[in-house]
């Protein structure tokens, strides 16, 4: 099973659905495309689960009980030189298997949910074909055995998420958001590409396995890459940091995070899929893929990961406290949680006990996918109900949507880290890893965890409590209860997962070196974070359970700080200032002037010259064969004279 090509079906099934619904969807499969997509993913999910079972319980371990990296198959696509080739392959190891399970599961949930959410949408089939394309790209990305393969799928993921974010293409804000997401990540991807080229140049390979091996043992490749340096930093560090920049772009780490909140313009199920569980963790996955190199050979690059991660997580958590668009709150919370995963990788060592951070990061990725998808889908149900994204238009919804209310509450408890919900376990591991390796990071992390509980419950109370009744009932006819079963079933399944997955002994399956990592539960250590989270919840309760204006007063008292946070620390404005004022005026305008007056001038001149020249030589092509014979003869003669008399060798 593990060595069979059946695994390839996991990405190929969604691809086939993409082709089918993309080509014939609008005409022939209009209403059928949702079911088609869902069925294909169901099959893919079953295969993934079965693969996971085979790998983790039956065949995955080698003689020493260590999980091996299995290449299920590899097809050489482009051979550059004997060592360097771009392959299309499937690699199976604990993290890639975990990822295919997560991706197929969340995508399946989103597919089911969308059947209700997107019902009646005119471009229903197109939506499903984009969704399938995205799932295909994401699965291809996580299964990649070659760093260039990952890059190809990386870009495909970018393109398909561009299509999905801009799905409502008649909405200018959606189009702008799609463009922004694409452009910002493109910038980061440029770094990724350069990083790949640096790493490939020094390692002489594009294959992950070989690359990791060459850079983690002492050999000629390793000494070459550490000896070469640019601006006092070794080539290895440059390469890894550049690759990390690519990851930071996709994972919305500071300062590339600006696209994520805007990307909430897309349909909400899309946000659940792309911006909660799959694409945004691609950066974390990338660092985890190359983790041996980061950890064993290049601690400075890992430090960059740590500080970018911890800063982003605090930064986003602060902003999330002030936003009123519920999807934006979730977007910032995603950014904050991914920051957790990043710095967990950063503080981790390699192998054994030291690898706790790595395991915790992957664990958190796993649990976060469940409860964040649940939060987004729940938010989607709420938006579906009140027809607004703004929490000002919500309140008191707990009675009209009981199932959504309960599931949303579970998810909030999970993300806040209250035992026994899933988020508690993974967050504990992360905090423990930080505590063991980097105390300052630990302090910031634990504060961020408290803030997380506060803003998540601010969100929860504002939606489901606060005002007793929604005042804005202009859509009376739309108050149709909670929404169809297709939306409620995924919510319920995900809620069960958000409770249950924390009990999986994750360290037994995923660890930095493939060995089992048994973690002990330490109640005393957990006490602090839980108390902090509870106080965050209580604070939110105090401010937001009833509409009382307390929060406004605090906001007023905080004045400038509040406004800065509300305005997301003006990062967007800074970018706009830099691009519009600085780049436009200092670079753009002069460049435009040079372009207009000098480049155009030269081009026009050369065009005129070429034009005149070709006009001038036009008579040569006179149509007279006799004349052609003369030219022919002259040509032959010139060659003869030139090479016989002048160009002797």
């Amino acid at each position: 099973m593990l060595h069979s090509k059946i695994i390839a079906l996991v990405p190929l099934l969604p691809f086939a659905v993409f082709l089918l619904t993309g080509l014939f969807g609008r005409k022939y499969l209009k209403n059928f495309s949702g079911i088609l997509g869902t069925l294909s993913l169901l099959v893919a999910f079953v295969i993934s689960i079965y693969t996971a079972y085979e790998y983790f319980f039956i065949q995955g371990r080698d003689a020493n009980g260590i999980f091996e990296k299995i290449i299920a198959f590899k097809y050489t696509w482009l051979q550059f030189s004997p060592g360097v080739s771009i392959d299309m392959g499937v690699v199976l190891d604990p993290i890639s298997i975990m990822m295919i399970v997560v991706v197929t599961f969340i995508s399946l949930m989103v597919h089911i949910y969308s059947m209700g959410y997107m019902k009646g949408e005119e471009r229903y089939a197109t939506y499903y074909s984009f969704l399938s394309l995205f799932t295909f790209s994401m699965l291809g990305l996580v299964l990649a055995s070659n760093i260039f393969q990952i890059y190809i799928f990386w870009e495909l993921v970018g393109v398909s998420s561009f299509l999905l974010i801009g799905f409502y293409y008649d909405k200018p804000s959606a189009v702008a958001a799609a463009k922004k997401a694409f452009i910002v990540t493109r910038f980061a991807d440029l770094g990724f590409l350069i990083g790949i080229l640096i790493l490939a140049f020094y390692s002489g390979t594009l294959d992950f396995g070989t690359l990791i091996e060459r850079f983690t043992t002492h050999n000629e490749y390793y000494s070459a890459v550490t000896a070469a340096s640019f601006m006092g930093v070794s080539a290895l560090t440059w390469g890894l940091v550049l690759v990390f920049i690519g990851g930071a772009g996709k994972s919305a780490m500071f300062p590339f995070h600006v696209w994520l909140p805007d990307a909430m313009e897309g349909p909400t199920p899309v946000s659940a899929l792309i911006h909660a569980a799959t694409m945004v963790v691609a950066g974390v996955y990338l660092v985890a893929r190359l983790f041996p190199v980061f950890s064993l050979s290049c601690p400075p690059a890992l430090e960059v990961v740590t500080y970018v991660g911890i800063f982003s997580s605090l930064f986003a958590a602060l902003i999330a406290c002030t936003q009123t668009d519920i999807k934006r709150v979730l977007a910032y919370s995603t950014m904050s949680q991914i920051g957790f995963m990043m710095f967990a990788l950063g503080v981790s060592g390699y192998g054994g006990e030291h690898g706790l951070g790595y395991m915790a990061s992957m664990f958190h990725l796993f649990t976060h996918a469940m409860f964040k998808a649940l939060l987004f889908l729940g938010a989607g149900a709420v938006i579906h109900f009140v027809h607004s994204n703004d929490m000002k238009d919500m309140g008191g919804l707990r009675k009209s949507m009981p199932i959504t209310h309960i599931t949303f509450l579970i998810a909030c408890l999970a993300i806040a880290g209250i035992p026994p919900f899933a988020g508690f376990f993974s967050k504990e591991e992360i905090l423990a890893a930080a505590y063991a390796n980097n105390k300052p990071v630990f302090v910031v992390a634990i504060i961020t965890a408290g803030i997380t509980a506060f803003y998540m419950f601010r969100l929860y109370f504002n939606i489901f409590w606060n005002k007793e009744k929604i005042e804005n009932h202009s859509h009376e006819e739309h108050s149709h209860g909670e929404g169809p079963m297709t939306m409620l079933i995924p919510l319920s399944i995900l809620a069960i997962c958000a409770i249950g997955v924390g009990f999986i002994p994750f360290g037994k399956f995923v660890s930095s070196d493939g060995k089992e990592l048994i973690t002990e539960f330490n109640p005393m250590f957990s006490l602090g974070p839980v108390v902090l989270a509870l106080s965050g919840i209580l604070l939110a309760l105090f401010f937001y359970k009833k509409a009382n204006g307390k929060s406004d007063k605090v906001a007023e008292a905080l004045g400038g700080i509040y406004r800065a946070t509300y305005k997301k620390f003006y990062i967007d404005e800074i970018y706009l200032f830099i691009t519009k004022k600085v780049v436009f005026n200092l670079v753009g305008r002069p460049a435009a002037w040079i372009d207009k007056n000098i480049v155009d001038g030269v081009i026009n001149l050369s065009a005129t010259v070429a034009d005149n020249f070709s006009e001038a030589i036009r008579p040569i092509q006179s149509g007279k064969v006799q004349q052609y014979a003369i030219y022919f003869f002259i040509g032959a003669l010139s060659f003869a004279v030139l090479f016989i008399y002048f160009w002797k060798n």
């Binding site: 070429a610 070709s614 064969v625 030219y631 022919f632 032959a636 160009w647």
Partner: protein, 468 residues
């Protein structure tokens, strides 16, 4: 030798067989239905192409006069395939033509000549093959019997060819005089680069250069392309040129390998002139067939660039490029042929607003142009990339830069066609063009080729594996 003869000469024998079948059909005159005749011809060509995949053996016949290898078998298959595509695209044109069987007999005779030429192991054989492939072509150029331009094209073709053949033959005689042999197996040992041999080589080079339309031996090209029927033009620009490239590659590398430095410099001069002049003239053309004539001149310049490599990488790149070139150029000619048969229009301005009523054909033509211009992800990009990297091995970066700059220039005129199709306004855009199913299938195959040849690395790998 009996068995060997039938197996080794299978491609030629099957072509001869088809020619005779068609000849007897003509004489019998029993089948009046034009579509049936066309169907028979196309099926025979398809069978010929399919047969090319089986029972291929390497070997030598007629004491070295004729030889075949798996590379040669591949080349013959490529030509047979191209001819099949052209025949499918010519369906509508031939349907109206009363001499369609003669068309097939003539065109297959030229293909037969090319096969002999590719398989030749001796200059005599090569020359005979070359002539067999040229003289029927002149008759084919005249196949639009009621058009004056067509006759003019034929006349120009035969006169210029005669002139070029003379020089080539002169070169071959001199070679015989200085080396005492015409056999490919013996001649290289006697090549010492003496002045007379140099002159002989230059004459042979020029003879080929004429066929390949290398500047300044290209003058006949535009007039002949413009005057000939579209099917013949596409045959001239793709199949005829392809066959010569195949022979040219092996001749330069295997036969004149000792004169490597000389022909390297000759190639460099030819490349610079060919690409520049081709580009400059292509920019101004209004007639699409003339435009494609000059574009094909430029494309040959890039093939030569690959040949400067002087090794198997160069030949692999040029053969690979030719396959892609067949797909892209035939797609363009296919559409021009459809339009020309139905409306008689062949000018670029006639295509203004073409997209409005013919969206699918518009895209096909645009994709063909993209591939010719070498824009990724079409196959044309990969073809040019391999040619340029093959050429870059010699380290003549000035030449590479020059070629790359010219590629940018060529974008201008290829995109002019695309602009006409999509952007240029037109009060009365061309009506929807209808073609028979056979044209559509051929265009479909071309499009598949334009996209798949680049992505599927198997083809290039196969060529490399044969060569090494």
């Amino acid at each position: 030798m009996g068995n060997d003869f039938f197996i080794l000469m299978k491609p030629e024998l099957s072509l001869m067989l088809i020619i005779f079948i068609l000849l007897f059909l003509k004489i019998w005159d029993g089948i009046k239905e034009v579509s049936t005749l066309l169907m028979i011809a196309n099926v025979l060509l398809l069978a010929n192409f399919v047969a090319g995949f089986f029972l291929n053996k390497e070997g030598v016949l007629f004491s070295g006069m004729y030889h075949t290898t798996s590379l040669i078998a591949l080349e013959k298959n490529v030509l047979a395939f191209g001819t099949l595509l052209i025949s499918m695209m010519a369906w509508d044109w031939l349907k109206k033509h009363e001499h369609l069987l003669e068309f097939y007999i003539l065109i297959l005779s030229t293909l037969l000549g090319m096969n002999f030429m590719i398989s030749s192991g001796n200059f005599m054989m090569l020359y005979l093959g070359l002539e067999l492939s040229t003289i029927p072509l002149a008759a084919l150029c005249n196949f639009d019997l009621d058009k004056l331009k067509s006759s003019e094209a034929a006349l120009k073709m035969i006169m210029s060819s005669a002139f070029a053949s003379c020089i080539l033959l002169f070169g071959i005689s001199l070679l015989y005089g200085t080396t005492g042999s015409l056999a490919f197996s013996e001649m290289p040992a006697h090549l010492d680069g003496g002045m007379l041999q140099l002159l002989a080589f230059i004459f042979v080079f020029v003879g080929f250069a004429f066929k390949l339309s290398i500047v300044p031996f290209h003058f006949w090209t535009a007039d002949v392309y413009e005057g000939s029927p579209v099917a013949v033009t596409s045959y001239l620009s793709v199949i005829s040129k392809g066959a010569i490239v195949f022979v040219f590659v092996t001749t330069l590398l295997n036969l004149f390998g000792t004169l490597g430095t000389i022909w390297y410099h000759m190639l460099v001069i030819s490349i610079v002139m060919t690409i520049t002049v081709g580009n400059l003239f292509a920019m101004r053309q209004e007639n699409l067939k003339r435009f494609l004539a000059f574009s094909s001149i430029t494309q040959v310049g890039y093939i030569l660039l690959g040949l400067t490599n002087g090794g198997s990488a160069g030949s692999a790149a040029s053969i690979y490029f030719l396959i892609i070139y067949i797909f892209s150029n035939l797609a363009a000619f296919g559409i021009i042929g459809m339009v020309s048969v139905q409306t008689g229009k062949e000018n670029m301005s006639d295509f203004n607003g073409f997209y409005k009523k013919n969206p699918l054909l518009g895209w096909v033509l645009a994709l063909a142009m993209f591939s010719l211009a070498g824009i990724p992800p079409t196959a044309g990009f990969f073809g040019k990339m391999f040619l340029v990297t093959a050429g870059a091995v010699k380290g003549n970066y000035l030449l590479i830069t020059f070629a790359a700059l010219n590629m940018v220039v060529s974008l201008y005129y290829y995109l002019r066609v695309v602009k006409a199709i999509f952007v240029n306004p037109n009060e009365s855009p061309m009506e929807a063009i209808k073609g028979s199913w056979s044209v559509k299938i051929a265009l479909g195959i071309c499009m598949l080729g334009v996209i798949a040849t680049g992505f599927y690395s198997g083809i290039y790998d196969y060529i490399v594996s044969i060569l090494s």
